[in-house]
């Protein structure tokens, strides 16, 4: 051996891999090139390593391309009419019950309906003003359940683009910065990262586990990789389909609720569908954290009651529901820390 590598690189797995993945600095790569020029065994080992890397990349590309084709071929819009009709029916029933209760008990400010119903908005507003009528007030809250606001444009996005544009062409290091932490306030629907809102609540997209154990591993290191995301696809078929209506289940300090995905605004619904996540609204009310899951097919009420919520870190929460685990990202400090306080 006449160069400064000092040993046969044929036995240095790490060096071979770094070379094949293009992770060596220019000077290091030159040393390897000089060495292999005079070492046929090392040249052959390097060639084998590069062959494996090339084959794995080819397979990875094909897997991704197949996934892309599958997503492109998926029908872009679900049939809207059955959903619209069922939601309208649920609203009518709930509103009707509210009106009936207020009228029957005589506690509400409504007059008995004569010659047809008053406008829905007027009715719900009246119910909300009736402080002494708790059931009616609750019903009114459900009727006026928020239409989630659209997500604002991510702050600093332009700066991020400029950073991308001005990035240098220096060779990659072993620990490249591609595994960046999800930026707080970026598009929640795309990443499972929470989107805080002025009212104190926030949105978080739950990622549903398909393969056992993958979610725990993801939670343990605080993030979900592309490979895991493939394994965590939402399987709505596993959920029992029921009538579209809001259902609640109190579990410890967490109140789990579910609503039909059709109650979401268009962009958030599309985002949840495209990325196969569960858009969820999280609100803190007194000592109770309410998590409202927007689902294509509603769970059986007993499943909902059996649901478990577990904070696994200070910004990650896992909900076990209907035989599935769903991972959520919360704003820093609102996961485990919140649970400890309780």
């Amino acid at each position: 051996m006449t160069d400064d590598i000092g040993t046969h690189i044929a036995s240095d797995e790490e060096l071979l891999s770094k070379y094949a993945l293009g992770r060596l600095l220019g000077s290091e790569q030159e040393k390897v090139d000089r060495h292999t020029a005079g070492c046929p065994a090392c040249m052959e080992a390097l060639r084998r390593e590069m062959r494996v890397a090339a084959g794995a990349r080819k397979l990875g590309r094909e897997d991704l391309k197949a996934e892309l084709k599958r997503r492109i071929a998926a029908p872009p819009v679900r049939a809207a009419w059955p959903r619209i009709v069922s939601v309208a029916a649920a609203i009518s029933i709930i509103a009707g019950l509210g009106v009936y209760y207020a009228w029957f008990t005589g506690k509400g400010s409504l007059s008995p309906p004569v010659g047809g119903s008053p406008p829905l908005a007027g009715r719900t507003e009246s119910l909300k003003q009736d402080e002494g009528n708790a059931p009616a007030r609750e019903l009114a809250e459900r009727v006026t359940a928020e239409k989630p606001p659209e997500s604002p444009a991510p702050a600093g996005a332009h700066a991020a683009a400029n950073q991308e544009g001005s990035a240098s062409h220096a060779p990659r290091s072993a620990d490249n910065n591609r595994r960046t932490e999800p930026s707080r306030g970026s598009t929640a629907a795309s990443s499972g990262a929470p989107m805080e809102e002025p009212g104190g609540g926030f949105w978080s997209d739950g990622i549903v586990e398909r393969a056992g154990g993958a979610l725990d591993a993801a939670a343990a290191r605080g993030g979900v990789s592309a490979g895991e995301k493939n394994a965590l696809l939402f399987k709505s078929k596993a959920l029992k389909k029921e009538a579209d209506q809001t259902k609640d289940a109190l579990q410890g300090q967490y109140l789990l609720r579910q609503k039909p995905a059709s109650a979401l605004t268009g962009s958030r619904e599309r985002s949840g569908r495209d990325q196969q996540t569960v858009p969820t609204r999280v609100d803190q009310r007194g000592s109770t954290t309410t998590m409202t899951l927007y689902l294509d097919s509603l769970l059986d009420e007993n499943d909902l009651k059996r649901g478990r919520v577990e904070a696994v870190s200070d910004d990650s929460v896992v909900v076990t529901l209907g035989g599935k685990k769903i991972l959520y990202r919360f704003p820093p400090g609102q996961g485990a820390q919140q649970q400890r306080q309780k």
């Binding site: 494996v52 397979l59 391309k65 332009h158 991308e164 544009g165 072993a174």
Partner: protein, 190 residues
Amino acid sequence: MAGSPLFASNDARILDRIRKGDEGALVELYRENRNPVRALVMRNRGTEEDADDILQESLVTLWERVRTGRFHYSARLGTFIYATARNMWLRRLARSRREVAGIETDPASDDASPLELMIEEEEAEIVRSALERLGEPCRKLLLLFYWEEESMETIAVQMGMANADTVKSRKYQCKKALEALVLERLPRHD
């Protein structure tokens, strides 16, 4: 060239999604870039199916570069995708010995890496096929290492192995098994 703030903001959002492993970002890019790429390919002796295939290949290239930290492009994403698709199509045309008139390859945006240039396509296909036959968990481990380019520590967590040393040892065994499958089909180089 930074482009307009509107485009830059949208591009940054898309890049952020890709970095986080969100394949839905590629679907969005596909829909945004389908028409210009179709126009390019169909002007140059291709079909709609050719155009869609080339666009998908371009998007996979973008994904790979972003995820491995090799994406250093200062123009709009749409420009990168168009240039990549154009070069891929020209190479495909050249390979099929068809004549191309009026447009030239832009070497600056060529998407072929040194690795791709060095390794024969045929060999890569043999390894790919062998990886398919290798079965789990070796297939997953080798893909995590060579395609996702995850660290040994991360692979250990993802695959439920004790530590990085266990992964190294397992990777070595998997490569040996893979090599045996490859040698069955690979022509001898003497």
